[in-house]
Structure formats: structure tokens, C-alpha cells
């Protein structure tokens, strides 16, 4: 047996060496948590090289995560555990937290990942309030309402506004379930976006964040904001035009544009029609921007006493596009839908169909029935690729309000192909003689939740 183990290590080392890998780390999978909860993980890093590796730093890529401590060196063949703290913040659904190991030899640098499923008590874990285009006005400021929506906790309420975006004034409404938002002073015309952070009255989830977006406009309005740059290739010239137009058809003055977080060149010129109420900015993106996502802004100063105009720019910077595979997504989706079939079981090849027909085994998985008293819920389901698990909701009348009883997700059990699972769950908290209504909810991989059954009523025995 020891010889086989030895072979195993040698083979891994050989594969690792062939790929020039010195440090290897397993992806750590943590149990589910709720938004804004904290948890800890232990990253296991092995040096499969022949020499010790010096670690100069281990960085949490997310500001709310933390590395507790790390060793200065990992000896050849050694495995070390590095403790880290994870803050779910406003993640929702399956999410990845990355830690970067920096070493004396950059070739030995490593990325270690922690994956975690983050639940939310909100119906939408990442609510957005978008004002759309608004004119800045002290006499008639723009208003919007943030509403707390939770099928999980009917009594969920806002206790306090923890942080308000700088361009917003926020006031909790008397119902404690909504926050009135008013656009306030802004330092520039353009898109403003920031999180409104609220403290909740729930011990399951302490906070809720909502992204607030407002496109604050003056007299001069850009033709597009944000402006997509699409694919920006370093080996090809790229040039863009942004048209500025005065909404009152008046003449206006703009200064020399500059860039934020993106390198480029820009100049202002008259529009093709040469009308006084129109100017255009011609700009190009420099080829020495770092490859990857481009995210920045074009800032256009206006005349005296006027706020500057800021236009968001975003795109993808690559050296060239020779390695990008272009895919017709609509065709792919049509093929995928056809392959999956209306029932999701898909069209199987003849051999698979024959194999399925000959396989007469009962592939049903029966989960054990919980002991005790209380209404027993039974449901049968096949595997669904997008489902993380199930949740039980209960009410005292068919119309509700319903409340989620299972704070933890009832994990989806994956049966053999063609099989199904019989789930059972008992409501031990039900009071004998009282009538209850229940429905089953699906908790999806992307964090959303779906009601997947009609309510069923029962009187608890």
C-alpha cells in the first residue's frame, strides 16, 4: 500500500513539475452562510517543488476578507494551513473569495480560492434603485423609494440607515419597510452609484444593501453614458466619438477632457453639422492599458460655475483578438434548449436510450422520515442543475403571510440519472389542533428563490 501511495505523490509531483507548479492549493468549500455573516476557512497549501518557497505576502482580494497569519516559508514537500476570515458581505448565491500568495520568485505565486454559498432573507439579494436620468433641482428634487421585500421573514424591518450614498438623502418611512431617497448635491453630472446600507431587525441577516443609481444631468447631455468601448485591441487603432448636445439648443463651452483610471487621448471638436448646441469628443484608448477589464471615466470640464460631465467607460482590453472564440449565443441557446428537451431530460443517443430501457432498477432515493410529532411534508423531485436546495414556508391561512421555517437550505440530493428523490420534512414547531398552510420553495444556485408548489393545508395532530 505504501508503494502505491508513494507512486501517487510522485505522479502528482511529476504532473505539477511539468506544469511548472510549485505551490498547489485545494479550493476550499465552506458551508452556506447568510449575507453579512462572517466565517473562517483554512487554506491548505502544499509545496510540490524540490526547494523551499518563501512567502512574502498573502493578500485577501476582497477588502472585507482577512488573512489571520501566514508562514514565511513552505519547505519542499510540506503542507501548511493558512487561516483566513471570510465576510460574505452582500454576496448572494455561489461566490468565490480569492487569496493571492506572493512569493520571492513570481513564478511560484499562487491563487487560492474559497467557494461559499450565500443566502439572503430578501427576495432579491442585490436590490437596485435606479432613478434613471434626473435633473438637478433644489425646488423639485428627484425621489425614489427603496422597499424591503422578504417572503422569508414577514416582519423584516429597517432599524437604521448605516451608510447613505453621498449624492442621496435617505429617510426611513414610518412602515419601517421602505426608505425614501432624494437626490442631493453632486460634484459632477453623470452616473452616480453607491450602496445604501441598512441595519435590519433580524438576527438571521443583520444588514441589507441596495445599489442606488442616478444619472444626474445638466443642460449639456452626452450621447451615451455609460459608453461601452467593447473589445479594445492593443494591436489595432481604436477611436470613439461622444456627442455633447445642449438640451436648450444654446451655445456652450467645454474644456480639455481628461481620463480617470484609463489611459487615453481626447480632444473636443465641432459636430459634423457645426451647430452651436453640439460638440463632439474624439478619443482613443492607449495601448499600454493593462489587459483585462477597462473601467474608468472621461471627464469633460464645462464653463465657469458649471459642474464637469463624467462619462463612464467600460470595455475589455486585450493584446489581440486572435484567441477569442466568437459564439452565436442565440444559436447555442436554441441547440441547448433542443438538447435538453421541454422536460429537461434531453434527447439521448440510441445506445443511452437502449441502456436506459434495459435498466429497470428503481433509482428512487427515499430520505429517512424524521421522528417526532407535527405535520409531515413529502415531496418528490428530480435533479435540477440550477437548484441549490429547498426551503419550507408556512402560514396560518392559504393567502399568507408565509414565513420561511427552514433557515438552512434542505440540500438537493442528486439521484442516479433517471432517478428521483423523495424528500421528507417534519414541522416539529406546529401546535396540535391548529391549521397550517405550507409550500415548497427552491433556493437557486444564483441566490434567487422560487415558489415551486401550491400551498397545502393541514391541521396539526
Amino acid at each position: 500500500m505504501q508503494k502505491i501511495l508513494f507512486f501517487c505523490v510522485l505522479a502528482i509531483a511529476a504532473i505539477a513539475a511539468s506544469a511548472d507548479t510549485t505551490l498547489v492549493a485545494e479550493t476550499v468549500r465552506l458551508p452556506d452562510i447568510y449575507q453579512f455573516e462572517r466565517t473562517s476557512a483554512s487554506l491548505q497549501v502544499t509545496n510540490v517543488g524540490k526547494e523551499a518557497v518563501s512567502i512574502t505576502n498573502v493578500r485577501a482580494m476582497r477588502p472585507a476578507d482577512r488573512v489571520v497569519a501566514f508562514p514565511a516559508q513552505i519547505a519542499a514537500g510540506a503542507t501548511v494551513k493558512i487561516d483566513v476570515e471570510i465576510n460574505a458581505a452582500n454576496d448572494v448565491g455561489a461566490s468565490v473569495h480569492t487569496f493571492q500568495f506572493e512569493t520571492k520568485k513570481p513564478a511560484d505565486d499562487l491563487l487560492a480560492r474559497v467557494t461559499i454559498y450565500v443566502q439572503t432573507v430578501l427576495d432579491n439579494g442585490r436590490p437596485i434603485v435606479d432613478f434613471g436620468p434626473v435633473r438637478l433641482s433644489t425646488a423639485d428634487p428627484a425621489h425614489a423609494l427603496f422597499e424591503l421585500k422578504s417572503e422569508d421573514i414577514p416582519g423584516l424591518a429597517v432599524e437604521e440607515v448605516l451608510e447613505t450614498p453621498a449624492f442621496i438623502q435617505a429617510r426611513i418611512e414610518p412602515d419601517k419597510r421602505s426608505v425614501r431617497l432624494t437626490v442631493d448635491k453632486v460634484p459632477y453630472y453623470g452616473i452616480h452609484r453607491a450602496n445604501l446600507k441598512l441595519r435590519l431587525n433580524s438576527d438571521v441577516q443583520l444588514q441589507a444593501w441596495s445599489e442606488i443609481i442616478a444619472d444626474v444631468r445638466g443642460d449639456v447631455v452626452p450621447s451615451s453614458n455609460p459608453l461601452p468601448l467593447d473589445l479594445v485591441l492593443a494591436n489595432k487603432p481604436n477611436e470613439y466619438l461622444l456627442v455633447l448636445r445642449h438640451q436648450g439648443q444654446s451655445e456652450f463651452v467645454v474644456g480639455k477632457p481628461s481620463f480617470e483610471r484609463i489611459k487615453g487621448k481626447a480632444k473636443v471638436e465641432p459636430c459634423a453639422a457645426k451647430s452651436d448646441d453640439c460638440k463632439q469628443v474624439r478619443f482613443s484608448i492607449a495601448k499600454d492599458n493593462a489587459p483585462g477589464r477597462l473601467s474608468g471615466a472621461l471627464v469633460i470640464p464645462q464653463g465657469k460655475g458649471q459642474l464637469p460631465i463624467k462619462v463612464e467607460l467600460y470595455g475589455m482590453m486585450l493584446k489581440d483578438d486572435s484567441k477569442i472564440v466568437k459564439v452565436d449565443g442565440d444559436k447555442l441557446m436554441a441547440q441547448a434548449t433542443e438538447a435538453s428537451g421541454a422536460d429537461g431530460k434531453g434527447k439521448q443517443p440510441f445506445v443511452a436510450q437502449l441502456k436506459g430501457a434495459l435498466d429497470t432498477r428503481d433509482k428512487t432515493i427515499n430520505l429517512p422520515e424524521p421522528s417526532g410529532k407535527g405535520p409531515l411534508l413529502r415531496w418528490q423531485a428530480e435533479e435540477h442543475a440550477s437548484v441549490h436546495g429547498y426551503a419550507i414556508y408556512r402560514a396560518l391561512s392559504e393567502q399568507g403571510p408565509y414565513e420561511r421555517l427552514t433557515r438552512e437550505v434542505i440540500a438537493q440530493v442528486v439521484p442516479e440519472e433517471g432517478g428521483s428523490v423523495n424528500y421528507v420534512w417534519r414541522d416539529a414547531s406546529a401546535v396540535s389542533g391548529k391549521q397550517y398552510w405550507y409550500y415548497i420553495g427552491a433556493v437557486m444556485n444564483n441566490g434567487s428563490k422560487k415558489k415551486i408548489s401550491s400551498p397545502m393545508g393541514v391541521t396539526a395532530k
Binding site: 501517487c8 506544469a19 467557494t115 473589445l231 475589455m316 486585450l318 447555442l332 441557446m333
Partner: protein
């Protein structure tokens, strides 16, 4: 071919010792690529890709200096889909980037990672609006490890129960 043979032998040998310290190391090269891919499967090879990006959506989404296979997926209509990568010889990291969605102050919409041999599913928010999406497949550790992979696109089907009762 030789490395695949080594990997297959390794997986077979390692499957005998799936506990303790060896469990982590022994998953190094597993993984299967469907022999008869469905029409919605794209087969690729990370070994033929080059390092193109160091991050997908910002500093929090570093992908290091590993090779990056990039697919530009053009959606003409709103869709709900999952993207699944099955790889051999590398631990997959998959991310979906769409410009406007990444302008959010919050984390970029979707990324996922797994160990070698694991199927990694990317399940973006429902109803992706029409537009160009970039699907990235890379080695999650940032190293040069690579191998063949399949990228399967599947529609998100309605979830339903076969039976439901309360007694």
C-alpha cells in the same frame, strides 16, 4: 497522450486512497470530457490558449498568469442559461463578464472555481439581457497547468416537483 495516461493511472490509483492528506493531492488530474458532446457543447484546450488577462472584473477577481480561454458569446435576446466546464489536467475557474453588469459597485455577477476533475457550474442571475458576454476559463491557481475541457451551455428550465403532500 502520455500525460493523459499518467493522469488516468493516477486517478485510478488515487481513488483507492480518498481520505486524509492524500485526498487533496490525489484529485490532481481527474475529470471527464463527454465522448459524444451535445450540440451545445464547445470543446477546447487550455494548453493552446495564452495568458491574456490578469483580472476579469476588477482587483477582487484576479485570475493570475494562467492561460485564458475566452469566448465572446453574443446574445440577441434575453436568456437564462448555465455554463458548465469539465476539464482535465487543471483546476477550472470560470467567469462570465458583461460590461454593463460589471459597472455595478457590487461584485461582478458570476464566477466559480473548483478542484481538478470537478465540474464547475456558472449560474448567472436569471434573464441575462441581450448583449456580448465574455466567458473565461482558466486554471484557478494562476499556474500554467492546462488540459482539454468542454464548455456546456444549458437553458435554465422551470423547477417543478413531481409530488407534494402534507399529512
Amino acid at each position: 497522450m502520455r500525460s493523459k495516461l499518467i493522469a488516468a493511472t493516477l486517478v485510478a490509483a488515487c481513488s483507492m486512497f480518498s481520505t486524509g492528506a492524500f485526498a487533496a493531492a490525489c484529485t490532481a488530474s481527474a475529470g471527464t470530457i463527454p465522448a459524444t458532446p451535445s450540440p451545445s457543447t464547445i470543446n477546447g484546450d487550455l494548453c493552446t490558449a495564452t495568458d491574456q488577462l490578469v483580472q476579469t472584473c476588477g482587483d477582487t477577481t484576479t485570475i493570475g498568469n494562467a492561460r485564458d480561454a475566452i469566448y465572446a458569446v453574443q446574445l440577441g435576446a434575453t436568456n437564462s442559461a448555465t455554463f458548465t466546464v469539465n476539464g482535465t489536467g487543471f483546476a477550472p475557474y470560470i467567469a462570465l463578464m458583461n460590461g454593463p453588469a460589471c459597472n455595478s459597485v457590487n461584485t461582478c455577477p458570476t464566477e466559480n472555481a473548483g478542484n481538478a476533475g470537478e465540474q464547475v457550474v456558472l449560474d448567472p442571475a436569471n434573464n441575462l439581457p441581450a448583449g456580448t458576454y465574455y466567458v473565461f476559463i482558466t486554471e484557478q491557481s494562476g499556474s500554467a497547468a492546462c488540459g482539454a475541457f468542454s464548455l456546456v451551455t444549458a437553458p435554465v428550465l422551470p423547477v417543478s416537483l413531481q409530488k407534494f403532500s402534507v399529512e
